[in-house]
């Protein structure tokens, strides 16, 4: 675990396994601060993902064992479960995961063929289909539910005592009328142990540790996380001249799924760009779109939509970020000849 390999992992299965290991600190932090609902979601999502993939493979007349044993769909399930509201009922998780695996992956040909990030597709689909559930079932970390309350929420009887608005939702709705100083009085910030946002900061830190470990193990390259986080940092810093009206820089970086997305969502190799420069531009694009949608759009968090939009741009990014071939004068542009 500590030794740094010279090359990325030699098998797909090992890549997926490394990412799952890197997610463990984040999962632990989420469970501590947001209750057992996270674990229930994870279990449901993993089972649904495996079953959906097995069903699709059977319908496509492909052998099941090699594909299931490469852990790629388990990873998809885990990523969705960590993106969904922690008090989500069982049907929400199942719907999101099943649509991600079936519509986002197998409809296009299975592993390696999905044009968009399956986890983000599932998230976006369910966000548009069940907006109320997706906006009212976020757990308030200051008052996480116990196991029984989590179970109640899971089966469909959530209690208002435990849910609350997320940080970005707060900034979009309540805080627009408050000054920065007044916003700081909110218990979510006042009780923060690390000085940022209670609960969310630990989760972000846990994801950061996992992500840095992935970098160290050469599973991902630095271009994607640096691209996204630096873009958010620079744009939000540039526009936060008036602290009373703009969302602070550290909120952009820590709240929402910024760090989670930077290391785990944008780094999906299949739907992102392929060349290192391309990955940088991809992440910068996601960053710009995320800032715009967060600030001027309807939705509090924008990672899913930004990722989906940049996924469609990924082939073009690949066409224009090729390195210069040895012996040629300039790098090749554009997709190229017919058959």
């Amino acid at each position: 675990m500590i030794h740094r390999p010279a090359y990325p992992p030699r098998e797909t299965r090992l890549v997926m396994r490394s990412v799952l290991i890197a997610l463990l600190p984040g999962i632990v932090a989420m469970s501590i601060f947001f209750g057992a609902g996270v674990l229930l979601n994870l279990a449901t999502a993993i089972v649904t993902a495996l079953l959906s993939e097995a069903l699709c493979l059977k319908l496509r007349h492909r052998s099941i064992q090699p594909r299931l044993s490469d852990w790629s769909v388990v990873l998809t399930g885990v990523l969705i479960a960590l993106s969904l509201p922690q008090a989500a009922p069982w049907w929400l998780t199942i719907a999101a995961t099943a649509s991600a695996v079936i519509l986002g992956k197998h409809l296009y040909g299975g592993l390696g063929q999905n044009p968009v990030n399956p986890a983000m597709l599932g998230y976006a689909l369910i966000l548009i289909s069940a907006p109320v559930a997706m906006t009212t079932l976020w757990i308030n970390p200051l008052n996480p539910p116990d196991v029984e309350a989590a179970w109640m929420a899971f089966i469909g009887n959530p209690s208002d005592a435990y849910t609350g608005a997320t940080t970005l939702e707060l900034y979009q709705s309540e805080f627009s009328a408050l000054t920065a100083l007044e916003a700081k009085q909110h218990p979510l910030f006042a009780n923060a142990q690390l000085g940022f946002i209670y609960g969310y900061e630990w989760v972000a830190l846990a994801y950061l540790i996992g992500g840095l470990w992935l970098l160290y193990q050469r599973v991902i390259s630095w271009h994607t996380p640096v691209g996204l986080l630096a873009t958010l940092l620079i744009i939000s810093a540039f526009f936060s001249v008036d602290p009373d009206t703009a969302t602070p820089v550290w909120v952009h970086l820590i709240a929402g799924a910024s760090i989670f997305a930077a290391f785990f969502i944008l780094t999906d190799p299949v739907s992102g760009a392929t060349s290192p420069k391309g990955r940088l531009w991809f992440a910068i694009g996601v960053g710009v779109l995320t800032y715009i949608i967060r600030t001027y759009g309807q939705y509090p968090d924008a990672i899913a939509f930004s990722v989906l939009m940049m996924n469609f741009a990924a082939p073009m990014i690949d066409h224009y970020t090729r390195p210069r071939i040895m012996g040629r004068e300039a790098s090749i542009k554009g997709p190229g000849g017919q058959s």
Binding site: Y7, R10, Q338, S339
Partner: protein
């Protein structure tokens, strides 16, 4: 009532103006970026095998390319085979068609062979060959230059003693093909060894 009319009217006028502006832009583009000649015919001709055999019904490949550019069906070239039909379809952006000929016969790469013992030196085949691939003169031996022969078999009929055969094009003695990866992909043992890290 008046403001309804104003709203509708302004929409109609606005869109009409945009439409005219767009049309003017397209008109300018069609003049400014006009391409001389008919590159389509040249592009189609590039894809044809240049056998000049006439099996498509036209006296050569260029006339057939021109005919295709004017709407003739694309599947009439047997020496090109299905590959050429598909490529022309891809170039024109239309659906491909099955080749309008016996595919097995079309796939063979044949050349003419003059049986020298039977040749009478009449030069009828030399006159018939569209690509000047037969050397010879009156009352002297005629021979097909294999590398220049396109296999169009236009020399077969004119020969009065029927001394020309169509045979498979001979391959160079050191000709060999690398194994197709589809074979390797399925059994993964094949001929080439992989280095594993």
């Amino acid at each position: 009532m008046i403001d309804v009319l104003v709203t509708v009217g302004s929409g109609v006028i606005g869109l009409t103006v945009i439409g005219f502006a767009g049309g003017a832009l397209l008109q300018y583009a069609s003049k400014a970026f006009k391409v001389e000649g008919n590159p389509l015919v040249e592009s189609i001709d590039e894809l044809l095998p240049q056998t000049q055999c006439g099996q498509c019904g036209h006296p050569g490949c260029k006339p057939y390319a021109e005919a295709i550019a004017h709407g003739e069906s694309i599947n009439r070239c047997p020496p090109g085979g299905q590959t050429t039909v598909d490529r022309i379809a891809s170039l024109l952006g239309v659906e491909s068609l099955p080749l309008d000929a016996d595919t097995a016969a079309a796939d063979q790469d044949l050349v003419a062979l003059i049986i020298e013992e039977e040749c009478i030196g009449c030069t009828k085949c030399i006159q018939a060959c569209p690509v000047d691939a037969i050397v010879g003169a009156a009352k002297l031996m005629h021979t097909v230059i294999v590398d220049d022969c396109t296999g169009c078999d236009l020399c077969i009929d004119p020969c009065p003693v029927d001394c020309i055969d169509m045979v498979e094009r001979p391959k160079a003695p050191d000709y060999w093909t690398p194994i197709h990866p589809k074979v390797i992909s399925t059994d993964r043992f094949g001929q080439i060894e992989m280095q594993h890290g």
